[in-house]
């Protein structure tokens, strides 16, 4: 009994001791909680908020683009995209497989997705797997969404070009921002933006179109998923980009596109009074919309590898020899330098030789059975009959230096358009040839340049510009696409327009334009007396058009050989040119037409030009 009580007392002592130890440990824990919850509460409170609160950019709506009549050329279309943040998904294949069981995802879309995830992009940027989800598909994904951390349904405004390939080379288009773009784009301004203007107006006016990014505070979970807006923390709405109205006339553009038909070529039409670009066609074009939603590889390869180069903008970046469309410039140069006048005549035998050289430069009318030539030719006839021999003589007498300097006043060799990303072409000089070719300038080069061949290279836009300057009797306006924007043209200080063309007198301009009218209207005059284009477009025309045809050689025809269109490959045939403006005495439209490998300028390009101008001027096509 005694033992038992001693033992019990010992146990009680130990129980109390160990309880006290426990109580001390508890107090230790409590001290830790005091430390965390009371002393350092502020620090941890902030840290918890930093965990869950994120500043999220709000993308601005890109400005819309309209044509001069208010036809929408570039729209924003709200769509929902199934997107995947690959960084957050451990097993991508399984996730794609499971998603494919919920919504219909084609093999093509999966292939496109796999290609996109290989391409450089921003880290943690959702990559589109399927665009344009239906309501039902969105619901199915949202219901099952908890199963994948990195799968999102994104609402986004996608650029949409309602007119598709018709306007693509005139308006340009946007492309998805790539990692390379991040070096040049402002990281903050573009934090909510997925697309950036890459071509044309979209690129040139990116700053106006883009708008200003906004921000809001959102609560995110540990996977970065946005759960709700925290309005009480403030938000800054995005500012939409400016809407732009262009000089383009989609009706005229349609007519021009149709006039070219299936042929490769380009048309640039300008309003001579404003310099506004009314139509800018490069054919074939392509539909830019699939590039925005994600173009299937196959389709892209076809576009990129096509010998017709649909992705290439011929109108602003293609350079060609202008052929005889350059002759009016040479004529004015001759008048300005006093080398010729309107009365002076020559006898055009169809052949021209430089002194002391055996090489024969021939007229376009030469064949192996007929020496050709235009007979007695003055400057007017040299233009409406397009006499090569007259211009060979004239050009060589003016000389390359004076000719080049004079031609530069018409915008050759430079990019004069205000808001078009165009190339400069080549207006050759002695210095240029020494640098580019390592050779001296030969007199033969001048002979070729006199009829728009040789080293001279121009774009359809430049040729249309020269036609416009002639139409304006030497007065300059720079070609431009932008007609107006929401807030005017702030930030885009237009350079002062070039000086008017110096040299030609008022009478010279009128005589030249008369001669160019003859190209179209002079008919029923007999052998070698009709305008070159009269037979093709001049017989039933209801207004006065001034024009000039041109045919630019693509391959050199050897001495003594005939240019035989039938014998040549299609790709080696001459490019057909026609420049024109109308009405001749009060021009409202000036244009250039290029038909690649089309053959004769008068027979092929002139009818296209007529159709375009008809569409612009004639009452049956009049305003809606």
């Amino acid at each position: 009994m005694e033992d038992h009580e001693i033992e019990t007392r010992g146990f009680v002592t130990r129980a109390i001791f160990i309880f006290l130890v426990a109580a001390v440990l508890m107090l230790g824990l409590l001290a830790r909680f005091v430390d965390l919850q009371i002393l350092k509460h502020g620090i941890f409170s902030t840290r918890a908020d930093e965990n869950r609160i994120q500043v999220q950019p709000i993308a601005s709506d890109r400005g819309l683009i309209y044509d001069r009549r208010g036809v929408l050329l570039a729209d924003n279309r709200p769509i929902r995209t199934l997107a995947v943040v690959t960084e957050r998904i451990a097993d991508l294949d399984t996730a794609i497989g499971e998603l494919a069981s919920l919504v219909d995802i084609s093999d093509d879309e999966i292939a496109g997705f796999r290609r996109r995830i290989e391409q450089p992009r921003r880290p943690y940027e959702p990559v589109a797997l399927k665009v344009n989800l239906t309501d039902e598909e969105v619901a199915r994904i949202r219901v099952n969404g908890h199963r994948w951390a990195g799968v999102e349904v994104d609402d986004e405004n996608l650029r949409y070009y309602p007119l598709g390939s018709l306007m693509v080379h005139a308006v340009g288009s946007v492309r998805r921002i790539s990692e390379d773009d991040l070096d040049t784009l402002d990281a903050v301004r573009y934090s909510g933006t997925k697309f950036v203007g890459r071509f044309g107006v979209e690129q040139f006016y990116e700053r106006l179109l883009h708008g200003e990014v906004g921000y809001r505070h959102v609560e995110i979970d540990v996977r970065g998923r946005v759960l709700r807006k925290l309005e009480e923390l403030g938000e800054e709405p995005a500012v939409a980009g400016q809407n732009l109205t262009l000089h383009l006339d989609s009706r005229l553009q349609t007519a021009a596109y149709a006039a070219l038909g299936e042929r490769r070529g380009a048309i640039v039409a300008l309003d001579p009074r404003s310099g506004g670009i009314l139509a800018l066609v490069s054919s074939p074009g392509y539909d830019p919309n699939p590039f925005i939603t994600g173009i299937p590889q196959e389709e892209y390869r076809l576009l990129e590898g096509s010998p017709d180069t649909p992705l290439f903008n011929r109108a602003t970046r293609g350079t060609y020899a202008p052929g005889s469309t350059f002759k009016p410039i040479v004529a004015l140069a001759g008048l300005t330098t006093g080398v010729t006048d309107w009365e002076r005549t020559i006898i055009d035998t169809g052949e021209f030789r430089l002194p002391g050289q055996s090489r024969v430069y021939r007229d376009w009318s030469w064949t192996t059975t007929n020496s050709g030539g235009q007979g007695i030719v003055d400057l007017r006839k040299a233009i409406f009959r397009s006499s090569n021999v007259y211009f060979y003589q004239l050009g060589t007498r003016v000389g390359i230096d004076s000719l080049g300097e004079f031609a530069s006043q018409f915008g050759f060799g430079s990019a004069t358009a205000l808001d078009v990303d165009a190339v400069e072409g080549v207006l050759p000089t002695r210095v240029w040839k020494k640098g580019a070719r390592g050779e001296d300038w030969y007199l033969g080069d001048t002979v070729n340049m006199s009829i728009g061949q040789g080293h001279l290279l121009v774009t359809p836009l430049q040729l249309a510009t020269s036609a416009m300057v002639i139409a304006n009797r030497g007065r300059w306006v720079q070609p431009r696409l932008l007609l107006s924007s929401d807030t005017g043209l702030s930030g885009f200080d237009a350079p002062s327009p070039p000086q008017p063309v110096r040299g030609p007198t008022e009478q010279d301009w009128e005589m030249l334009i008369d001669a160019m009218e003859d190209v179209v209207h002079r008919g029923n005059q007999g052998f070698r007396e009709n305008g070159t284009a009269w037979f093709y477009i001049g017989q039933d025309i209801g207004y006065r058009m001034a024009g000039k045809s041109g045919s630019a050689q693509v391959v050199e025809i050897r001495q003594g050989e005939e240019y035989d269109e039938e014998a040549l490959d299609e790709r080696e045939r001459k490019h057909a040119w026609f420049i024109a403006f109308a009405p001749a005495d009060d021009p409202r439209i000036a244009l250039s037409v290029l038909v690649e490998n089309g053959g004769g300028g008068s027979s092929v390009a002139a009818p296209v030009a007529r159709k375009v101008i008809d569409a612009y001027l004639l009452p049956q096509y009049a305003r809606l």
Binding site: E7, G10, A15, A22, L36, Q37, I43, F44, N51, E219
Partner: protein, 371 residues
């Protein structure tokens, strides 16, 4: 007082043979139920978890009632068998167990709920030690102590092999608690403590890489904020952001937004700290301390040595779990897989705690009959 409770629970006027008396202790029951209820309130934010936990707790309490009715002498006679069974199950789990989070802890039999044999050990070991000491000389001789250490070491080594260091330490603690209560001399006790401190470097070397990592992370969680330090950073952030009065029920952003891992299980006290603040924590710790105090008090009232040692050992085991879990969530001890007793979501752990409390009540309520 306790007998009054028992009497009230047995309906007056009905035959004892038909309606068996509830052999429960009122204070212990009420404080246990209070903790369970508090846990259920926290779980209420997720209906599935809440229902699962409710069912488990009801079942667990039924088991407690049943366990409390069994006479202590039966536990005495079953002790070696239960201990042996626990060792066998630990062996089985090592050889055939289901792996979760890198260690084999579970036995997954078809048709039966998964369970962790190491939880059974937390009952079996104090039981075995109380059995061993119940007819030995007190204070124990050195030879008896060696045997007791061997009895303790066998399950501890098996658990550590899984590897589950945290539970191993807790199982060892429950064994040592019984040895301490059995009356090992103070001199030996402090000697062992000193030896343990001296052996720390050796122990450190024997730890696995991830175990070392956890301990290093403990002292510097910011070094590896996305890896091993993540849990501690997020749990201390949750607790600290709760402040004095908390953010309110179901307002824990840290767990709602999934920043806090294991927020329903091992790290649930961080949610309590965030939602209920310091006041809630204070209340919960008080309840745990009441359970411990009452349990130890009942142990001192036990009629014999077996009852005393068993009841005391079980209560100290319970407290060790509470302490280790809370200290780990606070970043005071390494992160080990120990749930918060009666609050964390999960069945096996709650069951072993409730069985332990049931045994304590059985020991107490059957003492009159034994006398």
């Amino acid at each position: 007082m306790a007998n009054d409770f028992v009497r009230q629970m047995s309906l007056p006027g009905t035959s004892r043979a038909r309606v068996p008396a509830l052999r429960l202790d009122a204070v212990l029951c009420i404080s246990i139920l209070a903790v369970i209820l508090l846990g259920l309130v926290v779980h209420y934010r997720d209906p599935a978890t809440f229902q699962g936990q409710l069912v488990r707790m009801v079942l667990g309490f039924v088991v407690l009632v049943v366990v409390a009715r069994i006479e202590p002498r039966r536990y005495l006679s079953w002790a070696p068998t239960i201990y042996g069974a626990a060792l066998v199950l630990l062996l089985v789990v090592l050889l055939f167990g289901t792996t979760a989070k890198g260690s084999q802890r579970w036995i997954d039999l078809p048709g039966l709920p998964r369970f962790q044999p190491s939880e059974l050990t937390k009952i079996a070991l104090p039981l075995m030690l109380a059995w061993y000491f119940h007819d030995r000389r007190i204070p124990p001789r050195f030879r008896d102590l060696l045997v007791a250490f061997a009895i303790t070491a066998a399950p501890v080594l098996l658990v550590v092999q899984q590897p589950d260091l945290g539970t191993g330490v807790l199982v060892a603690a429950s064994g040592l608690a019984v040895v301490f209560l059995a009356g090992v001399s103070w001199r030996w006790l402090f000697g062992a403590l000193a030896l343990g401190v001296a052996a720390t470097p050796v122990l450190w070397m024997s730890l696995r890489d991830y175990q070392q990592e956890r301990i290093r992370t403990l002292f510097n969680p910011e070094n590896d904020p996305l890896g091993a330090g993540w849990s501690i950073i997020q749990s201390t952030t949750a607790i600290g952001s709760g402040g004095l009065f908390g953010k309110g029920l179901r307002e824990s952003t840290q767990s709602r937004l999934d920043f806090l891992p294991e927020s329903s299980t091992d790290f649930i006290i961080a949610v309590i700290g965030e939602e209920w603040g310091f006041v809630g924590i204070l209340f919960l710790l008080f309840l745990y301390l009441v359970i411990l105090a009452r349990g130890l008090h009942l142990a001192t009232l036990a009629p014999n040595r077996f009852g005393r040692l068993l009841a005391g050992g079980l209560m100290l085991t319970f407290f060790a779990h509470v302490f280790v879990n809370i200290a780990m969530v606070c970043g005071l001890v390494p992160v080990v897989g120990v749930p918060l007793p009666l609050v964390s979501y999960g069945g096996t752990s709650a069951l072993s705690v409730l069985i332990g409390c049931g045994i304590v009540m059985s020991i107490h309520t059957h003492r009159a009959g034994r006398r």
